[in-house]
Amino acid sequence: MNTIVRKQMSIHPDVMDLLNNQIAMEMKASASYLAMASWCDQRELLNSKALFYKQAEEEREHAMKIFEFINDNGGAAISPNVTNVNNDFESLISIYETALEQEISVTQSIFKIFKAARKADDYITEVFLQWFITEQAEEEDTFRSILDIFGLMEGMPLKMIDERIPTE
């Protein structure tokens, strides 16, 4: 990377734009988990509720990690708009299905930035994103395992399924 702005910024400007989009995506994910937490909270699904409140906080931490990374590297982090948060769900299983889909699209998005960083010789971002890739693999695994529980306990009362959901 050899540009006029190189002395100001150690990350690639186009990669920075993608990272800013990622901040928005993480904040949206956080808001979305909060909606899921509320749905579970109102229905006394205690383990699910705890899991989604925790997810909501984690997503915000992810956003903040990227936010600070951009500013620390001379860029401009943008506080995003979060709109169109869905608060309407039909069932607990559909919530977990949505959660898994959401995590998969976050993973894809991280891959896209990783690729762009590599293509732009932006190694600083590339290394930074490695943590996120590991994290995404764990997130996907969490929700996949929970969906397995639903499969194994098919036909059981919701409350019993909820009790099998790991809280840690």
Partner: protein, 100 residues
């Protein structure tokens, strides 16, 4: 080619020193710090997206834009908006974008 008209409506950005940039508009010269440049880049990129350009053309056909931490207000019609986008791209230009 009428160069006089060209200079009259042109917008240019120059990199002066390590952290100082200057934006020359037909009516004034505005100095910009790097964070102010980044903010200008963000706004211009947003305004020149396909949907945003269409919206501008369908409505008033110009934009008023605050620059340099809202110290200045600049008036841009579509050609100037696009010109400014190119100027900014030049400042932020990286070699691999042309090589690839």
């Amino acid at each position: 080619m009428n160069t006089e008209i060209h200079t009259n409506t042109s917008y240019q950005i120059e990199h002066l020193t390590f952290c100082k940039y200057v934006l020359r508009t037909p009516s004034k010269t505005i100095s910009l710090s790097f964070p102010q440049m980044l903010e200008l880049r963000r706004k211009i990129n947003e305004l020149t997206s396909y949907s945003s350009l269409n919206r501008i053309i369908d409505n008033e056909n110009f934009v008023l834009l605050f620059v340099a931490d809202k110290q200045h207000l600049i008036f841009l019609e579509i050609p100037q908006l696009l010109q400014l986008k190119e100027e900014i791209a030049l400042i932020f230009h990286t070699p691999d974008t042309i090589l690839v």
